[in-house]
Protein backbone atom coordinates (compact mmCIF):
# COMPACT_ATOMS: atom_id res chain seq x y z
CA UNK A 1 0.00 0.00 0.00
CA UNK A 2 2.71 2.39 1.05
CA UNK A 3 4.94 1.56 -1.87
CA UNK A 4 2.21 2.10 -4.46
CA UNK A 5 1.48 5.43 -2.94
CA UNK A 6 5.17 6.26 -3.21
CA UNK A 7 5.16 5.45 -6.89
CA UNK A 8 2.10 7.55 -7.52
CA UNK A 9 3.79 10.41 -5.81
CA UNK A 10 6.86 10.05 -7.95
CA UNK A 11 4.83 10.27 -11.10
CA UNK A 12 2.80 13.19 -9.93
CA UNK A 13 5.82 15.03 -8.59
CA UNK A 14 7.69 14.59 -11.84
CA UNK A 15 4.87 16.25 -13.67
CA UNK A 16 4.90 19.20 -11.41
CA UNK A 17 8.55 19.63 -10.79
CA UNK A 18 10.12 18.79 -14.11
CA UNK A 19 8.92 21.82 -16.04
CA UNK A 20 10.31 24.22 -13.47
CA UNK A 21 13.69 22.57 -12.98
CA UNK A 22 14.32 21.52 -16.60
CA UNK A 23 12.36 23.88 -18.80
CA UNK A 24 13.72 23.20 -22.33
CA UNK A 25 12.59 20.03 -23.96
CA UNK A 26 15.92 19.52 -25.73
CA UNK A 27 17.53 18.73 -22.43
CA UNK A 28 15.46 15.62 -22.25
CA UNK A 29 17.97 13.68 -24.27
CA UNK A 30 20.76 15.02 -22.12
CA UNK A 31 19.03 13.90 -18.98
CA UNK A 32 19.17 10.33 -20.22
CA UNK A 33 22.91 10.32 -19.85
CA UNK A 34 23.18 11.23 -16.19
CA UNK A 35 20.09 9.42 -15.03
CA UNK A 36 21.36 8.08 -11.69
CA UNK A 37 22.48 11.51 -10.47
CA UNK A 38 19.40 13.33 -11.65
CA UNK A 39 17.15 10.67 -10.26
CA UNK A 40 18.83 11.01 -6.89
CA UNK A 41 18.41 14.79 -6.94
CA UNK A 42 14.83 14.47 -8.04
CA UNK A 43 14.18 11.96 -5.32
CA UNK A 44 15.68 14.29 -2.74
CA UNK A 45 13.58 17.17 -4.00
CA UNK A 46 10.47 15.04 -3.89
CA UNK A 47 11.19 14.12 -0.31
CA UNK A 48 11.76 17.77 0.52
CA UNK A 49 8.42 18.82 -0.95
CA UNK A 50 6.69 15.93 0.75
CA UNK A 51 8.29 16.81 4.03
CA UNK A 52 7.36 20.45 3.60
CA UNK A 53 3.67 19.63 3.27
CA UNK A 54 3.65 17.07 6.06
CA UNK A 55 5.43 19.49 8.31
CA UNK A 56 2.99 22.29 7.57
CA UNK A 57 0.05 19.94 8.06
CA UNK A 58 1.30 18.84 11.46
CA UNK A 59 2.10 22.44 12.34
CA UNK A 60 -1.51 23.37 11.60
CA UNK A 61 -2.66 20.50 13.81
CA UNK A 62 -0.50 21.79 16.63
CA UNK A 63 -1.72 25.31 16.02
CA UNK A 64 -5.35 24.15 16.14
CA UNK A 65 -5.26 23.42 19.84
CA UNK A 66 -3.74 26.84 20.55
CA UNK A 67 -6.43 28.50 18.47
CA UNK A 68 -9.16 26.49 20.18
CA UNK A 69 -7.86 27.43 23.64
CA UNK A 70 -7.61 31.07 22.60
CA UNK A 71 -11.17 31.02 21.25
CA UNK A 72 -12.54 29.43 24.42
CA UNK A 73 -10.65 32.01 26.45
CA UNK A 74 -12.05 34.92 24.44
CA UNK A 75 -15.59 33.50 24.40
CA UNK A 76 -15.68 32.83 28.14
CA UNK A 77 -14.19 36.11 29.23
CA UNK A 78 -16.04 38.28 26.74
CA UNK A 79 -19.37 36.92 27.99
CA UNK A 80 -18.28 36.67 31.61
CA UNK A 81 -17.11 40.28 31.75
CA UNK A 82 -20.64 41.44 30.99
CA UNK A 83 -21.62 40.19 34.44
CA UNK A 84 -19.93 43.29 35.83
CA UNK A 85 -22.33 45.48 33.86
CA UNK A 86 -25.42 43.66 35.16
CA UNK A 87 -24.23 43.09 38.71
CA UNK A 88 -22.29 45.34 41.07
CA UNK A 89 -18.77 43.91 41.65
CA UNK A 90 -19.33 43.88 45.43
CA UNK A 91 -22.22 41.47 44.83
CA UNK A 92 -19.76 38.80 43.78
CA UNK A 93 -18.40 38.84 47.31
CA UNK A 94 -21.58 39.24 49.31
CA UNK A 95 -24.90 41.01 49.82
CA UNK A 96 -26.55 42.85 52.68
CA UNK A 97 -29.60 40.92 53.78
CA UNK A 98 -32.03 41.08 56.70
CA UNK A 99 -31.87 37.91 58.78
CA UNK A 100 -34.71 36.29 60.76
CA UNK A 101 -34.08 38.42 63.84
CA UNK A 102 -34.48 41.56 61.73
CA UNK A 103 -30.83 42.56 61.73
CA UNK A 104 -29.04 43.55 58.59
CA UNK A 105 -26.04 41.36 57.93
CA UNK A 106 -23.48 41.00 55.17
CA UNK A 107 -23.96 37.48 53.86
CA UNK A 108 -22.08 35.37 51.35
CA UNK A 109 -24.98 33.82 49.47
CA UNK A 110 -25.27 32.32 46.02
CA UNK A 111 -28.95 32.39 45.10
CA UNK A 112 -29.45 33.81 41.62
CA UNK A 113 -33.16 32.97 41.28
CA UNK A 114 -35.39 35.34 43.19
CA UNK A 115 -36.59 38.89 43.48
CA UNK A 116 -33.04 40.06 44.01
CA UNK A 117 -30.37 37.67 42.83
CA UNK A 118 -27.45 36.99 45.14
CA UNK A 119 -24.21 36.19 43.42
CA UNK A 120 -21.47 35.62 46.00
CA UNK A 121 -18.70 33.52 44.45
CA UNK A 122 -17.15 32.82 47.87
CA UNK A 123 -19.17 29.67 48.72
CA UNK A 124 -18.60 28.29 45.22
CA UNK A 125 -14.83 28.82 45.21
CA UNK A 126 -14.58 27.42 48.75
CA UNK A 127 -16.74 24.47 47.71
CA UNK A 128 -14.54 23.68 44.73
CA UNK A 129 -11.37 23.84 46.84
CA UNK A 130 -12.95 21.82 49.64
CA UNK A 131 -13.50 18.99 47.18
CA UNK A 132 -10.39 19.40 45.03
CA UNK A 133 -7.77 19.66 47.79
CA UNK A 134 -8.81 16.55 49.78
CA UNK A 135 -9.30 14.67 46.51
CA UNK A 136 -5.77 15.62 45.44
CA UNK A 137 -4.33 14.56 48.80
CA UNK A 138 -6.07 11.17 48.68
CA UNK A 139 -5.14 10.63 45.05
CA UNK A 140 -1.54 11.70 45.71
CA UNK A 141 -1.08 9.11 48.44
CA UNK A 142 -2.64 6.32 46.36
CA UNK A 143 -1.37 7.48 42.97
CA UNK A 144 2.20 8.05 44.14
CA UNK A 145 2.24 4.61 45.74
CA UNK A 146 0.90 3.00 42.61
CA UNK A 147 3.33 4.88 40.37
CA UNK A 148 6.40 4.00 42.45
CA UNK A 149 5.28 0.39 42.75
CA UNK A 150 4.78 0.06 39.00
CA UNK A 151 8.08 1.72 38.16
CA UNK A 152 10.38 0.15 40.72
CA UNK A 153 8.99 -2.86 42.49
CA UNK A 154 6.41 -4.68 40.38
CA UNK A 155 7.52 -7.62 38.29
CA UNK A 156 6.72 -7.37 34.63
CA UNK A 157 3.75 -9.69 34.88
CA UNK A 158 2.20 -7.84 37.80
CA UNK A 159 2.76 -4.54 36.05
CA UNK A 160 1.05 -5.76 32.92
CA UNK A 161 -1.97 -6.58 35.05
CA UNK A 162 -2.09 -3.48 37.23
CA UNK A 163 -1.22 -0.81 34.70
CA UNK A 164 -4.22 -1.39 32.40
CA UNK A 165 -6.43 -1.64 35.49
CA UNK A 166 -5.27 1.79 36.70
CA UNK A 167 -5.80 3.22 33.25
CA UNK A 168 -9.24 1.65 33.11
CA UNK A 169 -10.12 3.57 36.27
CA UNK A 170 -9.76 6.77 34.25
CA UNK A 171 -12.20 5.39 31.71
CA UNK A 172 -15.13 4.87 34.08
CA UNK A 173 -17.86 7.36 33.16
CA UNK A 174 -17.98 9.96 35.92
CA UNK A 175 -21.76 9.78 36.12
CA UNK A 176 -21.44 6.19 37.33
CA UNK A 177 -18.98 7.17 40.06
CA UNK A 178 -21.33 10.02 40.98
CA UNK A 179 -24.29 7.68 41.20
CA UNK A 180 -22.34 5.27 43.42
CA UNK A 181 -21.45 8.18 45.72
CA UNK A 182 -25.09 9.32 45.87
CA UNK A 183 -26.58 5.91 46.51
CA UNK A 184 -24.08 4.08 48.71
CA UNK A 185 -20.80 5.84 49.50
CA UNK A 186 -22.71 8.65 51.23
CA UNK A 187 -24.28 6.18 53.66
CA UNK A 188 -20.98 4.42 54.35
CA UNK A 189 -19.24 7.72 55.14
CA UNK A 190 -22.13 8.91 57.30
CA UNK A 191 -22.06 5.69 59.33
CA UNK A 192 -18.27 5.84 59.69
CA UNK A 193 -17.86 9.50 60.64
CA UNK A 194 -21.39 10.31 61.89
CA UNK A 195 -21.63 13.30 59.61
CA UNK A 196 -24.63 15.65 59.67
CA UNK A 197 -24.73 15.83 55.88
CA UNK A 198 -24.97 12.48 54.14
CA UNK A 199 -23.77 14.05 50.93
CA UNK A 200 -20.72 16.18 51.64
CA UNK A 201 -17.43 17.47 50.31
CA UNK A 202 -15.56 14.40 51.54
CA UNK A 203 -17.83 11.99 49.67
CA UNK A 204 -17.29 14.10 46.55
CA UNK A 205 -13.53 14.15 47.18
CA UNK A 206 -13.41 10.35 47.42
CA UNK A 207 -15.29 10.06 44.14
CA UNK A 208 -13.13 12.63 42.38
CA UNK A 209 -9.91 11.05 43.68
CA UNK A 210 -10.81 7.88 41.73
CA UNK A 211 -10.62 9.88 38.53
CA UNK A 212 -7.31 11.56 39.27
CA UNK A 213 -5.44 8.57 40.70
CA UNK A 214 -4.63 7.34 37.17
CA UNK A 215 -3.35 10.81 36.21
CA UNK A 216 -0.95 10.94 39.14
CA UNK A 217 0.03 7.26 38.95
CA UNK A 218 0.92 7.29 35.26
CA UNK A 219 2.96 10.49 35.35
CA UNK A 220 4.77 9.38 38.51
CA UNK A 221 5.65 6.06 36.90
CA UNK A 222 6.96 7.75 33.77
CA UNK A 223 9.00 10.19 35.83
CA UNK A 224 10.65 7.54 37.96
CA UNK A 225 11.35 5.37 34.95
CA UNK A 226 13.08 8.28 33.26
CA UNK A 227 15.57 8.64 36.12
CA UNK A 228 18.97 7.34 34.89
CA UNK A 229 20.16 4.05 36.38
CA UNK A 230 23.39 5.71 37.56
CA UNK A 231 21.52 7.14 40.50
CA UNK A 232 20.05 3.78 41.50
CA UNK A 233 23.39 2.01 41.14
CA UNK A 234 25.18 4.69 43.12
CA UNK A 235 22.64 4.36 45.91
CA UNK A 236 22.92 0.58 46.01
CA UNK A 237 26.71 0.82 45.95
CA UNK A 238 26.52 2.97 49.05
CA UNK A 239 24.61 0.17 50.73
CA UNK A 240 21.13 1.65 50.53
CA UNK A 241 18.15 -0.71 50.63
CA UNK A 242 15.49 -0.63 47.97
CA UNK A 243 13.22 1.43 50.21
CA UNK A 244 15.99 3.92 51.00
CA UNK A 245 16.85 4.20 47.32
CA UNK A 246 13.24 4.86 46.40
CA UNK A 247 12.42 7.25 49.22
CA UNK A 248 15.69 9.15 49.54
CA UNK A 249 17.01 9.10 45.98
CA UNK A 250 14.39 8.39 43.32
CA UNK A 251 11.51 10.46 44.72
CA UNK A 252 13.69 13.52 45.36
CA UNK A 253 15.18 13.13 41.88
CA UNK A 254 11.76 13.01 40.30
CA UNK A 255 10.11 15.50 42.61
CA UNK A 256 9.40 18.05 39.91
CA UNK A 257 7.66 15.47 37.73
CA UNK A 258 5.66 14.25 40.70
CA UNK A 259 4.71 17.83 41.62
CA UNK A 260 3.55 18.38 38.07
CA UNK A 261 1.46 15.20 38.27
CA UNK A 262 -0.17 16.41 41.46
CA UNK A 263 -0.94 19.85 40.05
CA UNK A 264 -2.34 18.31 36.88
CA UNK A 265 -4.51 16.04 39.01
CA UNK A 266 -5.72 19.01 41.00
CA UNK A 267 -6.67 20.84 37.82
CA UNK A 268 -8.72 17.83 36.83
CA UNK A 269 -10.31 17.75 40.30
CA UNK A 270 -11.40 21.39 40.09
CA UNK A 271 -12.90 20.81 36.66
CA UNK A 272 -14.75 17.62 37.60
CA UNK A 273 -18.51 18.11 37.30
CA UNK A 274 -20.72 15.06 37.26
CA UNK A 275 -19.36 13.41 40.40
CA UNK A 276 -19.59 16.56 42.52
CA UNK A 277 -23.05 17.38 41.17
CA UNK A 278 -24.34 14.06 42.48
CA UNK A 279 -22.19 13.55 45.57
CA UNK A 280 -21.78 16.87 47.37
CA UNK A 281 -25.40 17.91 47.98
CA UNK A 282 -24.87 21.27 46.25
CA UNK A 283 -25.69 23.51 49.20
CA UNK A 284 -23.87 26.83 48.82
CA UNK A 285 -22.60 27.05 52.41
CA UNK A 286 -19.57 29.11 53.44
CA UNK A 287 -17.61 26.59 55.48
CA UNK A 288 -14.23 24.96 55.95
CA UNK A 289 -15.76 21.76 57.31
CA UNK A 290 -14.92 18.93 54.97
CA UNK A 291 -17.99 16.97 56.10
CA UNK A 292 -20.37 19.78 55.18
CA UNK A 293 -22.40 19.85 52.01
CA UNK A 294 -20.80 22.19 49.46
CA UNK A 295 -21.62 23.63 46.06
CA UNK A 296 -18.78 23.66 43.56
CA UNK A 297 -18.38 26.06 40.65
CA UNK A 298 -18.76 23.29 38.08
CA UNK A 299 -21.92 21.85 39.65
CA UNK A 300 -23.42 25.33 39.75
CA UNK A 301 -22.98 25.77 36.02
CA UNK A 302 -24.25 22.27 35.27
CA UNK A 303 -27.27 22.73 37.51
CA UNK A 304 -28.31 26.19 36.46
CA UNK A 305 -27.28 26.88 32.88
CA UNK A 306 -29.97 24.59 31.47
CA UNK A 307 -32.88 26.93 32.06
CA UNK A 308 -31.36 30.36 32.46
CA UNK A 309 -32.62 33.09 30.12
CA UNK A 310 -29.95 34.20 27.68
CA UNK A 311 -28.66 37.66 28.40
CA UNK A 312 -29.95 37.73 31.98
CA UNK A 313 -27.77 38.68 34.94
CA UNK A 314 -27.64 35.04 36.04
CA UNK A 315 -26.49 33.96 32.58
CA UNK A 316 -23.52 36.30 32.68
CA UNK A 317 -22.78 35.41 36.30
CA UNK A 318 -22.56 31.73 35.31
CA UNK A 319 -20.10 32.62 32.56
CA UNK A 320 -18.05 34.50 35.11
CA UNK A 321 -18.02 31.34 37.24
CA UNK A 322 -16.86 29.46 34.14
CA UNK A 323 -14.10 31.99 33.55
CA UNK A 324 -13.00 31.56 37.18
CA UNK A 325 -12.73 27.77 36.81
CA UNK A 326 -10.85 28.22 33.54
CA UNK A 327 -8.39 30.58 35.21
CA UNK A 328 -7.81 28.12 38.06
CA UNK A 329 -7.16 25.12 35.82
CA UNK A 330 -5.18 27.18 33.32
CA UNK A 331 -2.71 28.31 35.95
CA UNK A 332 -2.42 24.88 37.51
CA UNK A 333 -1.65 23.41 34.09
CA UNK A 334 0.77 26.24 33.29
CA UNK A 335 2.72 25.78 36.52
CA UNK A 336 2.88 22.01 36.08
CA UNK A 337 4.06 22.46 32.49
CA UNK A 338 6.84 24.77 33.62
CA UNK A 339 7.88 22.29 36.30
CA UNK A 340 7.95 19.41 33.81
CA UNK A 341 10.11 21.41 31.43
CA UNK A 342 12.51 22.27 34.21
CA UNK A 343 12.73 18.61 35.14
CA UNK A 344 13.50 17.61 31.56
CA UNK A 345 16.27 20.15 31.37
CA UNK A 346 17.69 18.98 34.67
CA UNK A 347 17.72 15.29 33.75
CA UNK A 348 19.64 15.99 30.55
CA UNK A 349 22.56 17.27 32.58
Amino acid sequence: MLSTRGINHTIRDERIILPSTTPPRKEASLSLRDTPLRAKARHRLKLKVQEFFIEKFLFLNGLASIIIIALIFVFLFRTGIKAFIEIKPLQFIGTHIVDFSGQEVFAYIWQPVGEQGKYSLIPLVLGSLLVAIPATIIATILGLGTGVYLAEIASRRVRELIKPAVELLAGIPTIIIGFLCLSSLGTIIQNLFHTTFRLNAFVGALGVSLVIIPVIATITEDTIRAIPDDLREAAYALGATKWETTWRVLIPAGISGITAAILLGMGRAIGETMIVLMATGNAAIVTLNIFSSVRTMTATIAGELGAVAQGSAQYYALFLVGATIFTFTFFLNLVSEIIVNRMRAKLKL
Binding site: G114, L182, G186, T196, V286, G303, A307
Partner: protein
Protein backbone atom coordinates in the same frame (compact mmCIF):
# COMPACT_ATOMS: atom_id res chain seq x y z
CA UNK B 1 -29.66 27.91 20.72
CA UNK B 2 -33.17 27.03 21.82
CA UNK B 3 -34.35 30.23 20.18
CA UNK B 4 -32.58 29.32 16.97
CA UNK B 5 -34.07 25.84 16.90
CA UNK B 6 -37.57 27.10 17.55
CA UNK B 7 -37.08 29.78 14.92
CA UNK B 8 -36.06 27.11 12.43
CA UNK B 9 -39.04 25.00 13.40
CA UNK B 10 -41.39 27.94 13.03
CA UNK B 11 -39.98 28.86 9.64
CA UNK B 12 -40.18 25.23 8.57
CA UNK B 13 -43.80 25.25 9.66
CA UNK B 14 -44.45 28.37 7.66
CA UNK B 15 -42.87 26.80 4.59
CA UNK B 16 -45.04 23.73 4.99
CA UNK B 17 -48.02 26.02 5.37
CA UNK B 18 -47.40 27.35 1.90
CA UNK B 19 -47.16 23.94 0.31
CA UNK B 20 -50.26 22.30 1.71
CA UNK B 21 -53.17 24.59 2.20
CA UNK B 22 -55.45 22.07 3.82
CA UNK B 23 -53.43 21.43 7.01
CA UNK B 24 -53.68 23.78 9.98
CA UNK B 25 -50.53 24.38 12.02
CA UNK B 26 -50.56 25.04 15.71
CA UNK B 27 -47.35 25.93 17.52
CA UNK B 28 -47.18 25.50 21.28
CA UNK B 29 -44.33 26.96 23.30
CA UNK B 30 -43.57 27.45 26.97
CA UNK B 31 -43.25 25.67 30.31
CA UNK B 32 -40.69 22.90 30.48
CA UNK B 33 -42.79 21.19 33.15
CA UNK B 34 -45.56 20.79 30.61
CA UNK B 35 -43.49 19.74 27.59
CA UNK B 36 -44.03 15.98 28.01
CA UNK B 37 -47.75 16.46 28.59
CA UNK B 38 -48.14 18.86 25.67
CA UNK B 39 -46.21 16.53 23.36
CA UNK B 40 -48.40 13.58 24.31
CA UNK B 41 -51.50 15.70 23.67
CA UNK B 42 -50.15 16.74 20.28
CA UNK B 43 -49.23 13.19 19.23
CA UNK B 44 -52.58 11.72 20.17
CA UNK B 45 -54.52 14.58 18.62
CA UNK B 46 -52.60 14.44 15.33
CA UNK B 47 -53.30 10.71 15.01
CA UNK B 48 -57.04 11.37 15.00
CA UNK B 49 -56.93 14.68 13.09
CA UNK B 50 -54.74 14.37 10.01
CA UNK B 51 -55.52 17.93 8.93
CA UNK B 52 -53.85 19.50 11.97
CA UNK B 53 -50.16 19.65 12.86
CA UNK B 54 -49.21 20.58 16.40
CA UNK B 55 -45.61 21.48 17.17
CA UNK B 56 -44.48 21.66 20.79
CA UNK B 57 -41.34 23.30 22.17
CA UNK B 58 -40.23 24.13 25.72
CA UNK B 59 -38.10 26.99 26.92
CA UNK B 60 -39.91 27.96 30.09
CA UNK B 61 -43.16 29.69 30.96
CA UNK B 62 -41.75 33.19 30.52
CA UNK B 63 -40.34 32.31 27.10
CA UNK B 64 -43.72 30.96 26.04
CA UNK B 65 -45.58 34.13 27.03
CA UNK B 66 -42.93 36.29 25.36
CA UNK B 67 -43.36 34.30 22.15
CA UNK B 68 -47.13 34.74 22.39
CA UNK B 69 -46.71 38.50 22.72
CA UNK B 70 -44.31 38.58 19.76
CA UNK B 71 -46.77 36.55 17.74
CA UNK B 72 -44.36 33.67 17.11
CA UNK B 73 -46.53 31.01 18.71
CA UNK B 74 -50.20 30.09 18.58
CA UNK B 75 -50.44 28.86 22.15
CA UNK B 76 -48.24 29.41 25.21
CA UNK B 77 -47.93 26.83 27.97
CA UNK B 78 -47.48 28.27 31.42
CA UNK B 79 -47.05 26.54 34.76
CA UNK B 80 -48.15 29.74 36.56
CA UNK B 81 -50.78 32.40 35.85
CA UNK B 82 -49.72 35.22 33.55
CA UNK B 83 -48.08 38.15 35.37
CA UNK B 84 -49.73 41.60 35.29
CA UNK B 85 -46.66 43.02 33.55
CA UNK B 86 -46.93 40.40 30.82
CA UNK B 87 -50.60 41.21 30.26
CA UNK B 88 -49.66 44.88 29.97
CA UNK B 89 -46.92 44.09 27.43
CA UNK B 90 -49.39 42.00 25.44
CA UNK B 91 -52.00 44.79 25.45
CA UNK B 92 -49.35 47.20 24.19
CA UNK B 93 -48.87 44.81 21.27
CA UNK B 94 -52.64 44.66 20.66
CA UNK B 95 -52.86 41.10 21.89
CA UNK B 96 -55.37 39.94 24.48
CA UNK B 97 -54.16 36.71 26.09
CA UNK B 98 -57.02 34.33 26.85
CA UNK B 99 -56.42 31.90 29.69
CA UNK B 100 -57.30 28.20 29.73
CA UNK B 101 -56.69 26.03 32.77
CA UNK B 102 -55.66 22.73 31.17
CA UNK B 103 -54.47 20.52 34.03
CA UNK B 104 -53.37 20.49 37.65
CA UNK B 105 -50.13 19.51 39.32
CA UNK B 106 -49.73 18.45 42.94
CA UNK B 107 -46.41 18.34 44.78
CA UNK B 108 -45.77 15.96 47.64
CA UNK B 109 -43.64 16.88 50.64
CA UNK B 110 -41.64 13.87 51.77
CA UNK B 111 -39.60 12.77 54.77
CA UNK B 112 -37.81 9.54 55.60
CA UNK B 113 -40.11 6.71 56.74
CA UNK B 114 -38.29 6.65 60.12
CA UNK B 115 -39.29 10.23 60.87
CA UNK B 116 -42.18 10.36 63.39
CA UNK B 117 -43.51 13.63 61.94
CA UNK B 118 -46.65 12.97 59.87
CA UNK B 119 -47.97 16.40 58.99
CA UNK B 120 -46.80 19.97 58.57
CA UNK B 121 -48.58 23.23 57.82
CA UNK B 122 -47.79 25.35 54.76
CA UNK B 123 -46.21 27.93 57.06
CA UNK B 124 -44.01 25.34 58.70
CA UNK B 125 -42.82 23.94 55.37
CA UNK B 126 -42.06 27.47 54.19
CA UNK B 127 -40.17 28.24 57.41
CA UNK B 128 -38.18 25.02 57.11
CA UNK B 129 -37.06 25.80 53.58
CA UNK B 130 -36.20 29.45 54.30
CA UNK B 131 -34.11 28.32 57.25
CA UNK B 132 -36.24 29.84 59.99
CA UNK B 133 -36.95 26.36 61.40
CA UNK B 134 -33.89 24.13 61.49
CA UNK B 135 -34.72 21.44 64.03
CA UNK B 136 -37.37 18.73 63.88
CA UNK B 137 -38.32 19.39 67.52
CA UNK B 138 -39.76 22.76 66.50
CA UNK B 139 -42.40 20.95 64.43
CA UNK B 140 -43.14 18.15 66.90
CA UNK B 141 -40.36 15.74 65.97
CA UNK B 142 -37.21 14.59 67.76
CA UNK B 143 -34.28 16.89 68.53
CA UNK B 144 -32.40 16.62 65.28
CA UNK B 145 -31.25 19.02 62.60
CA UNK B 146 -33.46 19.21 59.50
CA UNK B 147 -31.65 18.28 56.29
CA UNK B 148 -33.31 20.20 53.49
CA UNK B 149 -33.36 18.78 49.97
CA UNK B 150 -34.55 20.79 47.01
CA UNK B 151 -34.31 20.80 43.24
CA UNK B 152 -31.83 22.79 41.16
CA UNK B 153 -32.96 26.31 40.32
CA UNK B 154 -33.49 25.37 36.67
CA UNK B 155 -36.61 23.35 37.50
CA UNK B 156 -40.13 24.74 37.44
CA UNK B 157 -40.81 22.87 40.66
CA UNK B 158 -38.11 24.89 42.44
CA UNK B 159 -39.74 28.14 41.39
CA UNK B 160 -43.29 26.97 42.16
CA UNK B 161 -42.27 25.86 45.65
CA UNK B 162 -40.45 29.13 46.25
CA UNK B 163 -43.38 31.28 45.14
CA UNK B 164 -46.24 29.17 46.40
CA UNK B 165 -44.95 27.75 49.68
CA UNK B 166 -42.13 30.11 50.68
CA UNK B 167 -43.83 33.39 49.73
CA UNK B 168 -40.94 34.10 47.36
CA UNK B 169 -38.35 34.20 50.14
CA UNK B 170 -34.92 32.73 49.48
CA UNK B 171 -34.03 29.11 50.14
CA UNK B 172 -31.75 28.55 53.15
CA UNK B 173 -28.09 28.39 52.06
CA UNK B 174 -27.67 24.86 53.45
CA UNK B 175 -30.52 23.60 51.30
CA UNK B 176 -29.10 20.79 49.19
CA UNK B 177 -30.02 21.08 45.52
CA UNK B 178 -30.38 17.75 43.77
CA UNK B 179 -30.17 17.34 40.00
CA UNK B 180 -33.60 15.72 39.66
CA UNK B 181 -36.70 14.57 41.53
CA UNK B 182 -35.45 10.98 41.60
CA UNK B 183 -32.20 12.20 43.18
CA UNK B 184 -34.29 13.98 45.85
CA UNK B 185 -36.16 10.73 46.48
CA UNK B 186 -32.88 8.79 46.65
CA UNK B 187 -31.34 11.29 49.09
CA UNK B 188 -34.32 11.51 51.47
CA UNK B 189 -34.78 7.74 51.44
CA UNK B 190 -31.20 7.42 52.75
CA UNK B 191 -31.25 10.41 55.10
CA UNK B 192 -33.30 9.80 58.25
CA UNK B 193 -33.72 13.52 58.91
CA UNK B 194 -34.19 14.74 55.38
CA UNK B 195 -37.14 16.58 53.85
CA UNK B 196 -37.84 16.95 50.15
CA UNK B 197 -40.54 17.69 47.60
CA UNK B 198 -41.56 16.75 44.08
CA UNK B 199 -44.31 15.33 41.88
CA UNK B 200 -46.53 12.91 43.86
CA UNK B 201 -46.15 10.12 41.31
CA UNK B 202 -42.39 9.91 41.93
CA UNK B 203 -42.70 8.98 45.59
CA UNK B 204 -45.92 7.01 45.86
CA UNK B 205 -44.24 3.61 45.54
CA UNK B 206 -41.12 4.13 47.65
CA UNK B 207 -41.32 2.37 51.03
CA UNK B 208 -38.41 4.29 52.57
CA UNK B 209 -40.28 7.55 52.10
CA UNK B 210 -43.28 9.05 53.83
CA UNK B 211 -45.55 11.50 52.07
CA UNK B 212 -46.62 14.13 54.61
CA UNK B 213 -50.12 15.42 55.21
CA UNK B 214 -50.15 19.15 54.65
CA UNK B 215 -52.25 21.69 56.58
CA UNK B 216 -53.42 24.73 54.65
CA UNK B 217 -53.11 26.88 57.76
CA UNK B 218 -52.45 26.25 61.43
CA UNK B 219 -56.10 25.50 62.26
CA UNK B 220 -57.10 23.22 59.38
CA UNK B 221 -56.70 19.46 59.22
CA UNK B 222 -53.71 17.85 57.51
CA UNK B 223 -54.54 16.47 54.06
CA UNK B 224 -52.60 13.78 52.23
CA UNK B 225 -52.25 13.97 48.44
CA UNK B 226 -52.75 10.20 48.40
CA UNK B 227 -55.86 8.12 48.82
CA UNK B 228 -55.98 5.04 51.06
CA UNK B 229 -55.00 2.79 48.15
CA UNK B 230 -51.87 4.85 47.43
CA UNK B 231 -53.11 6.61 44.30
CA UNK B 232 -53.24 10.38 43.92
CA UNK B 233 -56.31 11.88 45.62
CA UNK B 234 -57.78 14.06 42.86
CA UNK B 235 -60.74 15.15 45.02
CA UNK B 236 -58.43 16.69 47.64
CA UNK B 237 -56.59 18.64 44.96
CA UNK B 238 -59.79 19.79 43.22
CA UNK B 239 -61.36 21.06 46.42
CA UNK B 240 -58.04 22.81 47.20
CA UNK B 241 -57.95 20.84 50.44
CA UNK B 242 -54.46 19.75 49.55
CA UNK B 243 -52.62 23.07 49.33
CA UNK B 244 -49.34 22.26 47.55
CA UNK B 245 -50.99 22.17 44.13
CA UNK B 246 -51.21 24.46 41.14
CA UNK B 247 -53.00 24.88 37.86
CA UNK B 248 -51.19 24.47 34.58
CA UNK B 249 -52.29 27.01 31.98
CA UNK B 250 -52.45 27.47 28.27
CA UNK B 251 -52.75 30.97 26.79
CA UNK B 252 -54.00 31.87 23.32
CA UNK B 253 -54.07 35.12 21.35
CA UNK B 254 -57.55 36.54 21.70
CA UNK B 255 -60.41 34.10 21.27
CA UNK B 256 -58.90 31.32 19.15
CA UNK B 257 -60.26 30.47 15.71
CA UNK B 258 -61.74 27.18 14.45
CA UNK B 259 -59.04 24.52 14.57
CA UNK B 260 -57.19 25.96 17.56
CA UNK B 261 -60.43 26.16 19.52
CA UNK B 262 -61.19 22.56 18.57
CA UNK B 263 -57.77 21.51 19.84
CA UNK B 264 -58.26 23.30 23.16
CA UNK B 265 -61.71 21.80 23.51
CA UNK B 266 -60.22 18.37 22.92
CA UNK B 267 -57.56 18.98 25.62
CA UNK B 268 -60.33 19.84 28.07
CA UNK B 269 -62.41 16.85 26.98
CA UNK B 270 -62.38 13.49 28.73
CA UNK B 271 -59.86 12.11 26.24
CA UNK B 272 -57.41 14.97 26.79
CA UNK B 273 -57.74 14.77 30.54
CA UNK B 274 -57.12 11.00 30.54
CA UNK B 275 -53.70 11.79 29.07
CA UNK B 276 -53.08 14.23 31.94
CA UNK B 277 -53.68 11.38 34.34
CA UNK B 278 -51.46 9.00 32.38
CA UNK B 279 -48.53 11.43 32.45
CA UNK B 280 -48.81 11.73 36.23
CA UNK B 281 -50.51 15.08 36.68
CA UNK B 282 -53.94 15.76 38.12
CA UNK B 283 -56.80 16.12 35.61
CA UNK B 284 -59.29 18.95 35.95
CA UNK B 285 -62.44 18.32 37.97
CA UNK B 286 -65.83 17.45 36.35
Amino acid sequence: MKKLISLLLVSATLLLCGSSRAAEHITVKGSDTMVILAQKWAETYMKAHKDVTVMVTGGGSGTGIAALINGTTTLANCSRPIKPKETKDAMANNITPVEYKVAMDALAVIVNAQNPVNELSMNQIGAIYTGKISNWKEVGGPDHRIMRYSRESNSGTYVFFKEHVMQDKDYAPDCQNMPGTSAVAEAVSKDSWGIGYGGVAYFAKMKELKILRVKKDNTSKGVSPLKQDGTVDFEAVWKTEYPVARYLYCYSIGKPSGKVQEYLNWILSKEGQTIVEEIGYVPLSK
